[in-house]
């Protein structure tokens, strides 16, 4: 489905989506309180059918975090970038999407490990790579004088 049709489809399903500028893919930003229900709509609706989540990550913008989800449809072959803003920088929390796309369970554990963002209703909220009492390395204000030699 091409750009214009996809845009109209999404607007009809999710009236609160705002479109952002992106040269490659169609990009929308949604409020984080409704994330789970919006993702369910996007996956189950026949015209959009976004069933394959291929990248889940977070970006630290110094006073807020931005969660980024890259979705594509195996049936219609269109791609969407879904973003949601997490405002609390000290104790960030957002809903999980692991009940919709199973691969998100492990990507969200990685985001918790590296950024400290907690996911509500996650089935297995443990750290993945680092020890339990280590900080969150990919935050911009992270320093580790003992281990890290900065150049």
């Amino acid at each position: 489905m091409d750009h214009e049709n996809l845009k109209n489809q999404i607007l009809s399903l999710i009236p609160e989506a705002e479109f952002r500028e992106n040269k490659q893919f169609l990009e929308i930003i949604v409020p984080s309180a409704k994330l789970n229900s919006i993702c369910k709509e996007l996956k189950n609706s026949g015209n959009t059918w976004f069933d394959y989540l291929f990248c889940l990550t977070a970006i630290d913008w110094n006073d807020h975090f931005m969660m980024v989800y890259h979705l594509t449809s195996t049936k219609h072959n269109h791609t969407l970038v879904l973003k949601t803003r997490v405002d609390n920088h000290q104790n960030p929390e957002v809903d999980t999407v692991s009940d919709i796309w199973r691969t998100a369970e492990f990507h969200e554990r990685e985001v918790y490990d590296l950024f400290g963002i907690k996911f509500n209703n996650h089935p297995d909220p443990r750290r993945l790579f680092l020890e339990d009492d280590y900080g969150f390395p990919l935050r911009k204000d992270f320093t580790d004088e003992i281990n890290m030699i900065v150049r």
């Binding site: 790579f129 680092l130 020890e131 580790d144 281990n147 890290m148 030699i149 900065v150 150049r151």
Partner: protein
């Protein structure tokens, strides 16, 4: 053996032939010949250097002809541990435990830039151990990223020369 005596391979041979009395020298020679010509390594490869270690054991640069006949999976049966690859903070206690479980005499070869000093991950990385000699004592260092299989063979030959200077009467300090 003093650190200053470890100059190059020719002086090592001379050194070996000039220390100790006749009876102990013959026993030393036999024991050292046995130990150095059949060093069995432990299977321990963390990252890219492991592929070059496998290639060194394959058909072209066969290293079974140097005595490294089989790889032992269990540390109790191995003589040398070839640390090939990066060691991170989570893996360091595991490596120390494996080294402690090996039986004497045991040797360590640090293969590749990551095992010598952290390698390409020295700057700006929060979880890499900057050199495996912070955890266990190393006998031979093999530089390269990754070192060629021929470099690994040369390193093993250096280890063999080092073993041949040992003596059962006096503990080697090198």
């Amino acid at each position: 053996m003093e650190y200053e005596d470890f100059n190059d391979n020719e002086s090592l041979e001379i050194f070996k032939n000039s220390k100790g009395n006749i009876l102990l020298t013959s026993i030393d020679n036999v024991i050292n010949w046995g130990r150095s010509n059949s060093i069995w390594p432990l299977t321990f490869a963390t990252s890219c250097c492991g592929i070059e270690m496998m290639a060194a054991g394959a058909a072209r640069h066969d290293f079974a002809r140097f005595g490294i006949e089989v790889y032992r999976a269990s540390p109790r049966q191995a003589d040398v541990i070839v640390v090939a690859g990066t060691i991170v903070n989570k893996m360091a206690p595991v490596l120390k435990r494996l080294y402690d479980q090996m039986a004497d005499p045991k040797y360590v070869i640090a293969m590749g830039a990551c095992a010598i000093s952290g390698g390409p991950f020295y700057y700006n990385s929060y979880s890499v151990v900057k050199g495996v000699d912070k955890i266990i004592p190393v006998d031979v260092y093999i530089p390269g990223c990754p070192p060629r299989p021929e470099a690994l063979l040369y390193g093993v030959m250096q280890l063999q020369r080092k073993i041949q200077t040992e003596s059962i009467s006096k503990k080697s300090e090198v």
